[in-house]
């Protein structure tokens, strides 16, 4: 396996890897050596362009997706919650996957980690092996939700080319919304998570995660080269995503409809569709301010 490097073929494959039967139970996970990332071949589905790009980037890759099938929408409490791809070893995955089930109640905390360890049959001391404690649990969430996007993208854009066309900004908006719905179960804990992410030692990793998510969204929306606008740039997607996410943490509306509208307005502003903010100068002002606050929420000291 490769470390996720943005826009490399490796990232593309990591980003689309679907975990199915691999390491279903924590015990099985633990049996695998921790640094051996599970390489169980998984069934995955990809956008055609995806496969093409991956093939170009890594022609001999053994992990290239070959089987296409309908992705299952995973529910939060599914018992065989799949470990997301990324930098997690088997035992680490077992501990984090079990702990993640306790996040809605206990937050991204040592308590959640400790409950998870007991569930998975580990002694209480075992969570001390995790190098960054609760932040590791946050990274788990980020990797897991990012990894789900590719499969969801295929479902969402399935009609494409068969009579239905989406514009790139539409797809970006759909993808951002899709990713935000991945925060629903933990939204009550997310402000606390943002605070942890903003602590000085965590900032570089937090920013890297945001950048990787933006890359993934831009990538899944289609080829960036044909749409060089701000909203389809990494900076643009990062800013819009992070500000909407922040809004969502205090959104009490049913089904997060206010957040949905907030996102729509941000996209419209970015595209200059309506109103005063369509004015380029003001937009730049807004986006600079927005990006600033957003950067702060993800921990940048500005």
């Amino acid at each position: 396996m490769h470390p996720p490097t943005p826009s490399s073929g490796a990232l593309r494959r990591l980003g689309t890897q679907r975990w199915t039967t691999a390491a279903k139970t924590s015990r099985q996970c633990a049996a695998i050596h921790m640094t051996t990332r599970a390489t169980v071949p998984s069934t995955k589905q990809t956008l055609p362009s995806h496969a093409v790009r991956a093939a170009v980037a890594a022609p001999s890759s053994p992990t290239l997706p070959t089987v296409t099938q309908t992705a299952q929408r995973r529910t939060f409490h599914s018992t065989d919650h799949p470990p997301p791809p990324g930098p997690f070893g088997a035992t680490e995955s077992a501990l984090l996957a079990a702990a993640y089930q306790h996040v809605p109640e206990h937050g991204f905390s040592s308590a959640a980690l400790a409950f998870g360890a007991r569930d998975a049959g580990f002694p209480d001391i075992s969570t001390s092996v995790l190098p960054d404690g609760e932040f590791g649990l946050i990274r788990w969430h980020l990797e897991l939700r990012k990894a789900e996007l590719a499969g969801r993208a295929e479902e969402m854009f399935v009609g494409e080319g068969k009579g239905k066309e989406y514009k790139i900004p539409e797809k970006i908006e759909m993808l951002i919304w899709e990713r935000l719905t991945g925060n629903k179960e933990v939204i009550g804990q997310w402000q606390q998570a943002l605070a942890i992410m903003a602590s000085p030692t965590n900032v570089p990793v937090s920013i890297k995660h945001l950048a990787e998510l933006a890359d993934e969204i831009v990538y899944l929306s289609g080829d960036k080269a044909v749409d060089p606008s701000w909203y389809s740039s990494r900076a643009g997607v990062s800013a819009i995503y992070a500000s909407t996410e922040l809004f969502m943490t205090s959104d009490k509306s049913e089904g997060f409809t206010d957040t949905r509208q907030f996102l729509r307005r941000r996209m419209e502003e970015a595209r200059g569709v309506k109103g005063a903010l369509g004015n380029v100068g003001q937009w730049v002002g807004f986006s600079a301010m927005g990006a600033l606050n957003v950067a702060r929420s993800w921990g940048v000291r500005v």
Partner: protein
């Protein structure tokens, strides 16, 4: 040290005589404790690598010779050991130890749940520094009185220091302490398989003649899911800090060691053993080779890598 005229004169005699350790190695007859080791160490036929070459500071000696010499070093510095640690760590080893133990968080229990017993094995724990911190964190901070610590060391003098110091602990903590004289490379018959929650070794492992054997023993005695943790001087990443630190450690410390303990050679050994210890990456590999899993990069640098904490976990069966 100062209170042992016999030792002192031997040490003083050897300081003039270059950096060979043999003269200062105390003959067993002069101390009843030392006579139990290494002479009476059970020689295992399968595992006996006593004749294999290993490093002693910058010299190469056989493994059994190293064991004897290390025993000599620590017998001669046991009492002034803390001062040495202060110098080698630029005064921050207590902070490292605090951080080390609080990061292991012994005795922690999920809120509202019943506390479970834990057994901690503090290897090379001589002076008790690490063990006492574990007891405090577990019993006082985490309110889990069911955490026991066994302090183990090859050197009876070091264990004596630990015992003496433990007398100031609250009675309940003293009751949770036990002492075990043993060579970390072979704990058979002394520590049962799958019996420990946490194996900790602080500033000890670089003195072992056969580190892989010690790591295998750690793996054997830990429960599945149990944690191996090691705090040790390590490799400084930053070149500038490294050169300054080397200058300090090689230049000043043996001098100071001579002044405070009248024992230049022992300190020279300590400095060289630190220099010889594997890099963070190499040590991590040794941990993996012993069958442990690691999470993330597997170690954490302290003060730019002057020391590092390594952690491993024994996978569930």
């Amino acid at each position: 040290m100062a209170s042992r005229p016999g030792l002192r004169s031997i040490a003083a005699a050897s300081t003039s005589a270059s950096r060979t350790f043999a003269p200062r190695f105390v003959p067993p007859t002069s101390r009843s404790f030392a006579s139990t080791h290494p002479a009476s160490r059970p020689t295992t036929t399968t595992n006996d690598t006593s004749d294999r070459p290993t490093s002693f500071g910058f010299e190469t000696v056989t493994e059994s010779e190293k064991r004897e010499r290390v025993a000599g070093v620590f017998s001669s510095v046991a009492d002034s050991y803390d001062r040495m640690n202060d110098m080698m760590s630029l005064g921050v080893h207590r902070l490292w130890k605090d951080h080390y133990v609080s990061s292991l968080n012994p005795g922690y229990t999920p809120p509202g749940q019943a506390a479970r017993p834990q057994h901690i094995l503090d290897i090379a724990g001589g002076t008790g520094d690490i063990a006492f911190r574990h007891l405090h964190t577990a019993h006082v901070l985490n309110r889990n009185p069911d955490v026991r610590v066994t302090i183990s060391d090859i050197n009876p003098d070091m264990l004596e220091v630990g015992k003496k110091r433990s007398s100031i602990l609250p009675a309940s903590q003293q009751a949770a302490l036990s002492f075990l004289q043993a060579n970390a490379e072979d704990l058979t018959g002394k520590v049962a398989d799958n019996s420990m929650d946490l194996y900790t070794v602080a500033f000890g492992i670089r003195n072992f003649s056969n580190m892989p054997a010690a790591l295998q023993e750690a793996h054997r005695v830990l429960k599945p899911g149990g944690v191996f943790a090691c705090l040790e001087f390590s490799k400084v990443g930053n070149a500038l800090l490294d050169s300054v630190y080397k200058r300090w450690s090689f230049g000043a410390i043996p001098m100071i060691g001579h002044l405070v303990a009248g024992d230049r050679d022992s300190y020279q050994y300590l400095v060289e053993s630190i220099e010889n210890f594997p890099s963070q990456e190499d040590f991590r590999q040794l941990i993996l080779d012993a069958g442990f899993g690691v999470a993330g990069q597997g170690y954490e640098d302290l003060t730019g890598g002057i020391a590092a904490i390594h952690r491993g976990i024994k996978p569930l069966a």
